[in-house]
């Protein structure tokens, strides 16, 4: 059946091509031959998976041989019984898929988290660095092939992708109720736990860390950073050609224009976007139009007069580090970059008085994860006060724990972590936090930017 449709499609293409006369007679015959070959190829290709189907269980079997005992136990584990989960997880190797381009974070996972898991629970953690879109491709491929025991255990996921993963049944859950640390230390009613980019998490995601957009500058070159949108515009005029932002579509770029739009239209107005579940271009435009006008007015003062924008945030970051730009932005303070000497000691960060967007990032478990018990153990460990403190110390990541639920000594430990020169105090950040637009709004916002700001 598949073949018939292909045939129709290919014949159709074939006809178009012959009509083109580009080819002449011999070309036409060649084209026919070629698509004949294609068809033969499809037919041949189709047989391979058909044969493979009988072997469908083979990969799963071979995958489980390494941990046979643990795995068979995992199959009928009562996940609500944490001791049983710990027992089942023993000896398992759990894979964590997530973005792999952050050296500091990779190091933290490999040198702090992984040894702790091994020592405490005899769980081996394997970090696989992949772009989230590639993780999704991998996962959807496995789903399509009907692989029951996949290669991915848990994922560092972002909100935009979470919605579509959950909708399509790629995630396992709800699981957060099983986690002792989640139950003890995380406020389940907090909107940052309940919603991820506007879509309800419903226990399919456990928060991993919080982040908030901050702008970075060199205090040697700039004495007072612009903390309002008007000041920012004046700042761009003053540093003509030395300010830009990554093209929205890059998540930092989208977040940055969100901050500016929020500054123009006000936090409350902007946060209407974060609860929109079925936005249309018109409804979004109604809210953000003044913000887009503002962005368009900025263009003449930006890098290359705003005729073009760098494609991604790493490009902007290197341009900033080299001195081509005077301002950079990112989720978090550049403390780590200063400590490794990539940015000068005089680097500071600031936020707008009108706030900057912040979000939580999450961990989710794949529906076909082969080691669910071990994934639960690992996730539970990540949200332990000990590890969250370590993240705060080593990576300057904002903790997802509810401080009021922590024992006094742990609270004190968090308070005792010295603040780096580049860092903004936590309470100040949280007081100027704007909720991000909801997942479905984001692509619309990016499209509007492209049409109204880039094309202007």
């Amino acid at each position: 059946m598949k073949n018939d449709t292909t045939e129709a499609v290919l014949l159709e293409q074939n006809r178009i091509m012959t009509r083109r006369r580009f080819v002449g007679l011999s070309g036409a015959s060649l084209a026919v031959l070629m698509f004949g070959g294609t068809l033969a190829g499809c037919a041949g290709g189709d047989e391979a998976p058909a044969e493979g189907e009988s072997k469908q269980d083979a990969p799963a079997e071979s995958a489980s041989t390494d941990t046979t005992a643990a795995d068979s136990a995992a199959a009928d584990v009562d996940f609500a019984d944490w001791d049983a989960v710990l027992e089942a997880a023993k000896g398992q190797t759990v894979t964590w898929y997530g973005w792999g381009g952050d050296e500091a974070r990779n190091n933290w996972i490999n040198t702090v988290l992984a040894p702790a898991l091994k020592e405490k629970y005899d769980v081996t953690l394997e970090l696989v660095g992949m772009d989230i879109n590639d993780v999704l491709t991998q996962l959807s491929g496995e789903m399509q092939a009907g692989v029951e025991k996949g290669s991915i255990d848990f994922i560092w996921i972002n909100g935009e992708n979470f919605y579509s993963c959950k909708e399509n049944g790629y995630l396992w859950g709800p699981f957060t109720d099983y986690l002792p640390n989640f139950n003890d230390y995380i406020d389940p009613e907090s909107p940052e736990v309940l919603y991820d980019f506007g879509s309800p998490t419903e226990g399919y995601e456990c928060p991993y860390g919080k982040a908030q957009l901050q702008m970075w500058y060199d205090s040697k070159a700039i004495s007072d950073p612009p903390t309002t949108v008007d000041a920012f515009k004046a700042f761009c005029e003053q540093h003509k050609g030395q300010v830009t932002y990554p093209e929205p579509g890059d998540f930092v770029g989208t977040a940055f224009i969100s901050c500016l739009i929020a500054g123009v239209i006000g936090k409350e107005e902007f946060e209407k976007l974060s609860s929109m579940s079925e936005p249309t271009e018109e409804s979004v435009l109604e809210i953000v139009q003044p913000g887009l006008d503002y962005l368009r007015e900025l263009n003449p003062y930006l890098w290359k007069e705003g005729t073009t924008f760098p494609a991604d945030s790493p490009t902007v970051a290197t341009m900033y580090a080299d001195g081509e730009l005077v301002l950079n932005m990112g989720y978090g303070a550049p403390q780590e970059l200063v400590e490794t000497g990539q940015l000068p000691e005089s680097t500071r960060s600031f936020i707008f008085d009108s706030g900057t967007v912040g979000n939580s990032n999450f961990m989710a478990i794949a529906a076909n994860a082969p080691h669910k018990a071990a994934a639960l153990v690992a996730i539970n460990e990540v949200v332990s006060p000990e590890m969250q403190l370590s993240i705060y110390e080593d990576l300057s990541g904002i903790s997802v724990l509810d401080m009021t639920k922590l024992p006094e000594e742990d609270q004190q430990a968090f308070a005792d972590v010295p603040l780096g020169e580049t860092q903004i105090p936590l309470d100040e950040l949280l007081a100027h936090r704007v909720s991000e637009a909801s997942g479905p709004v984001i692509p619309i916002l990016e499209k509007l930017w492209l049409e109204q700001v880039a094309q202007a």
Partner: protein
């Protein structure tokens, strides 16, 4: 005796098919993958439970206002970089022939560029030609450039010269790689004859060596063209915000968190495959005609 002869004849008839078989199996696997991708462009995504053919995505793609611009930008990038690669490749390969390339020369001039992944070459070019790259720094020292913003940065330039520079760096050696062995033999064998007959070296090169290498050059040209037309990495990183190259459009759709958007991405990829296929068929026609002419 007769039997043996018949057997041999049969063997000769079957032999090419047996020899082709492994390659065809690999191509079949490839085409299986392609068909899967093409079907997604028609909305067939079994993993989302969609099995009905729809032309919606193709229609959506073909009526996009930015499509024409993107196709022509991509076409420009591909054509410019492949012509550039061809010209540079011919020159480089002639030079390599003339110096009787030693292993070291071949290694440095040809093989190192072949080894470097495109994204690594982007890193090279950005560190040289971005607004704050080494070249503007040297110019700054000479007093020609005051600040990074005075230099036409390679990043995001509307002319796409960053993309072309990366492709030139990579593909000139590739074309040379494809032709140098043939060219050195041709120029040795026929060049001498022509020279003995009194032809000037330049004339020999253009009338003897180059025509004899035409087939290999055309193939290399086609490969570079198809690659430059279909690859997204370099135009994504160095191309302008608008217009976007066709593969960049496809890549962005592909990255859209809504997996259903992959259908759009695949339809865009289909457009690319169509263009390159037409180019390839044109090439084969030329090749055929030439075969007859000879």
């Amino acid at each position: 005796m007769v039997d043996r002869l018949a057997l041999r004849r049969a063997g000769r008839a079957v032999a090419p098919y047996l020899l082709m078989a492994p390659a065809l199996v690999l191509v079949a696997v490839f085409l299986y993958g392609v068909v899967g991708g093409v079907l997604q462009g028609f909305g067939i995504m079994p993993f989302l439970g969609r099995t009905d053919v729809t032309f919606e995505y193709w229609q959506q793609v073909l009526t996009r206002p930015d499509l024409a611009q993107s196709v022509s930008f991509s076409f420009y990038l591909a054509l410019a970089s492949s012509l550039w690669a061809l010209a540079g490749g011919i020159v480089l390969s002639a030079a390599l022939c003339a110096v009787r390339q030693t292993r070291l020369v071949a290694l440095v001039d040809v093989q190192i560029p072949l080894m470097c992944a495109h994204i690594l070459v982007v890193l090279f070019m950005v560190s040289l030609f971005s607004g704050s790259g080494l070249v503007p720094r040297v110019l700054h020292c000479l007093g020609l450039v005051a600040a990074p913003s005075d230099f036409p940065s390679i990043v995001g330039d509307a002319s796409g010269w960053g993309v072309l520079a990366v492709y030139a760096w990579k593909e000139v050696p590739f074309v040379a790689f494809c032709t140098v062995a043939l060219m050195s033999h041709v120029s040795d064998r026929f060049g001498e004859a022509a020279a003995t007959l009194g032809a000037s070296p330049l004339r020999t090169f253009f009338t003897v060596t180059l025509p004899l290498c035409k087939g290999a050059l055309m193939k290399a040209f086609l490969v570079v063209f198809a690659f430059a037309f279909g690859a997204y990495e370099v135009p994504f990183l160095l191309g302008p915000t608008l217009p976007k190259a066709l593969p960049v459009l496809a890549y962005i759709e592909f990255q859209n968190p809504d997996i259903a958007n992959r259908s759009v991405a695949m339809a865009l990829n289909g457009v690319m495959a169509l263009v390159t296929t037409v180019a390839a068929i044109a090439y084969f026609v030329v090749l055929k005609r030439e075969g007859k002419g000879r």
